[in-house]
């Protein structure tokens, strides 16, 4: 199959859906001629014009409100917040308005938008441009949260998210933009709320999100050489979560390591651990549930410190090995 980068896969989804559905438009800071800070929307303004690829002032709350209002009245906007860190400025409209409208209005209205949020560390951008805030949104009833880890999933999930009738926070980890993988040219969707087994194994389950999926797969490769067979499960959609697939996997392996980049305390891993502990998988657990997450600290600028702030392949290998060998 043809290969695309993660970034190109997202762009292709936007392009194909805009050709198919005149209600879809893109709105955000520098999404037009600049092509977005990371180049995701490059070329789109040339094809669709400034009416549908809309540059905004630096007004994140305004962007969130604009997509909410447009979605409420018949459009299917795709907003972009240049760095997920700046959803902090948009959060009133997202949390109090967009997330609540459908329920609060007794089901008489829907808010079908997608908000794309480049996130994560690893680029030397320091504490205010490197955060992973996905769990803030997971906590809010009324928002869907999607976090694709491969180019294939990125395209299929974005198409599904745009077609979904509800607000979707779409988390794109910046480090993934250049990663490549097979992506079909045709229109396809990856359904929201469906997890994926990225690698099958019998000894241990790793549940990983975003960029940690690739790191978990690399770790699994190394561990396989030691005779430890790891199963890697990618939730893909954090909310609504496909708990069933995770519970099945953990029931099979009896050991689970949860890996994410976001800070540990209050992170998604806590929720995953609770869901597993509350499920029938609990009876099959041979060891405590283990979390590997970002340190509870701001992301430092210095390259070495930054590297050691979030889980890396070697940390995953070590944690998984300990867990598989019953040393936890």
């Amino acid at each position: 199959m043809r290969e695309l980068s993660y970034l190109e896969a997202i762009r292709e989804a936007l392009q194909q859906e805009m050709r198919r559905d005149p209600r879809v438009f893109v709105i955000g800071e520098d999404v037009g001629v600049y092509g977005g800070a990371f180049g995701v929307t490059r070329g789109l303004v040339e094809e669709f014009g400034e009416q549908r690829i809309i540059d905004t002032p630096i007004s994140e709350l305004g962007i969130a409100g604009a997509i909410t209002g447009a979605a409420l009245t018949g459009m299917r906007p795709v907003g972009e917040i240049m760095f997920m860190d700046f959803t902090t400025l948009a959060i009133e409209q997202l949390v109090n308005q967009a997330a609540k409208i459908r329920f609060m209005f007794g089901g008489t209205a829907t808010v079908p938008f997608v908000l794309r949020c480049p996130a994560g560390s690893g680029t030397g951008a320091a504490a205010q441009h490197s955060q992973s805030l996905e769990n803030w949104f997971v906590h809010v009833p009324g928002l869907k949260v999607v976090m694709p880890s491969t180019p294939y999933d990125a395209k299929g999930l974005l198409l599904a998210a745009i077609r979904d009738d509800n607000p979707v926070i779409f988390v794109e980890q910046k480090l993934l933009y250049k990663t490549r993988g097979p992506v079909p040219e045709e229109d396809y969707t990856v359904p929201l709320g469906k997890a994926d087994i990225k690698r099958a194994g019998r000894d241990l389950t790793i549940v990983a999100t975003g960029v940690m999926v690739a790191r978990a797969l690399e770790a699994a490769e190394q561990l396989a050489r030691e005779g430890i067979e790891v199963e890697v499960v990618d939730p893909r959609t954090l909310k609504p979560l496909d708990a069933e697939l995770i519970i099945q996997s953990v029931s099979k392996t009896g050991r689970v390591l949860i890996v994410h980049e976001a800070a540990r305390t209050g992170g998604y891993g806590g929720e995953l651990a609770a869901i597993i502990a509350e499920s029938e998988a609990f009876d099959y657990l041979d060891a405590p549930i283990v979390r590997l997450a970002g340190r509870d600290m701001p992301i430092p600028y210095n390259r070495t410190l930054e590297y050691h702030t979030v889980p890396q392949v070697e940390n995953i290998v070590e944690a998984a090995r300990q867990l598989a060998q019953g040393r936890v």
């Binding site: 092509g35 180049g39 504490a127 600290m297 430092p300 210095n302």
Partner: protein
């Protein structure tokens, strides 16, 4: 307030230091010595230096992502600044902050800021605190044209005005917020026109004319110090370089950039000094060369400085 010839010469020196620092920064980046990105203010030196010249040493500033110039104008130690830029333990933030977060708190620079408009509401608090404590100090808050369209700008200017706080808002209008031209981003001709909406004086000046910036900001500082409240000063200027390292300059023409290079604020100030204080050409070149030498020395210091100790990674983390 007129500046003494020595002071004027010193302002020229500061502008050259900024130019030299940023050219070196660019160069270090090209060599792969810098992780991350940076925002250069080359072409905007008169705005930073002219504005900070209107302050007393113990006054405060709040800076932006494009903050190297503000930091140098506020009197930062170049060695520690370069060390921070290079992520070293000897840097102002011990390598934790980097280019976008250099802060010289002891020197009154309360920090560059990675968030557009992030410093503007803080300026309200700094001004409030000066008023409550009766320090007589003024807070000068830099921000860009792009920042003037964010919500925090509006909340902050109103609060500073209703409480008559000793704050000077300095908008460095370099005419673009990344790719978005101010001509499209505002439905009013001048950003300073917004001042009227908050009940404070607003003034637009040629931001490449150090004297004009100095004069306008001095008026605003005097007003603030006299307890008459905040002002908004708009310095119209231009950045010669791309927004950051990811910028391909698709949104503006080479001709436009070249035309603004003709309006070099440093050359302009030198021409003026030649008239005003008979600064000779060799004198001017000596100032320039000394600035480049000081930056080389700062790089040598930073190069020789240790990296932060990995064992101390969580030091200072309290929650």
């Amino acid at each position: 307030m007129t500046l003494t010839p020595e002071r004027q010469r010193d302002l020229l020196r500061q502008m050259w230091l900024i130019r030299a620092f940023e050219e070196k920064a660019e160069n270090l980046y090209a060599q792969g010595k810098i992780h991350g990105t940076m925002h250069l203010s080359i072409g905007m030196e008169a705005s930073a230096v002219g504005a900070v010249a209107a302050l007393q040493p113990d006054d405060y500033i709040l800076s932006t992502h494009r903050g190297h110039g503000h930091c140098i104008a506020k009197g930062a130690d170049l060695d520690r600044m370069m060390a921070e830029f290079m992520g070293k333990e000897t840097g102002y933030c011990r390598g934790r902050g980097g280019s976008m977060h250099i802060a010289d708190v002891a020197g009154g620079n309360l920090g560059a800021n990675g968030v557009v408009a992030g410093g503007i509401p803080i300026a309200v608090g700094v001004g409030l605190s000066q008023k409550m404590q009766g320090t007589g100090r003024v807070c000068l808050c830099f921000f860009g044209d792009g920042a003037a369209n964010s919500g925090p700008f509006h909340e902050a200017l109103n609060m500073a005005a209703i409480w008559t706080l000793p704050v000077v808002f300095v908008c460095e209008n370099n005419q673009y917020a990344m790719s978005y031209p101010a001509s499209k981003a505002f439905a009013i001709p001048r950003i300073s026109d917004r001042a009227a909406g908050y009940g404070m004086p607003g003034e637009t000046v040629d931001g490449n004319d150090l004297n004009a910036v100095y004069a306008a900001v001095s008026r605003a500082v005097e007003r603030a110090r006299a307890g008459e409240g905040p002002s908004l000063v708009e310095n119209v200027t231009y950045r010669w370089r791309g927004h950051s390292k990811s910028d391909a300059n698709r949104y503006r023409s080479r001709e436009e950039i070249e035309a603004w290079k003709e309006k070099d604020p440093i050359a302009r100030f030198e021409r003026w000094l030649a008239q005003a204080i008979s600064l000779s050409e060799p004198d001017a070149r000596a100032v320039e060369q000394a600035a480049y030498a000081a930056i080389e020395a700062a790089v040598a210091f930073a190069d020789a400085s240790p990296e932060p100790d990995l064992a101390a990674i969580e030091e200072g983390v309290y929650a």
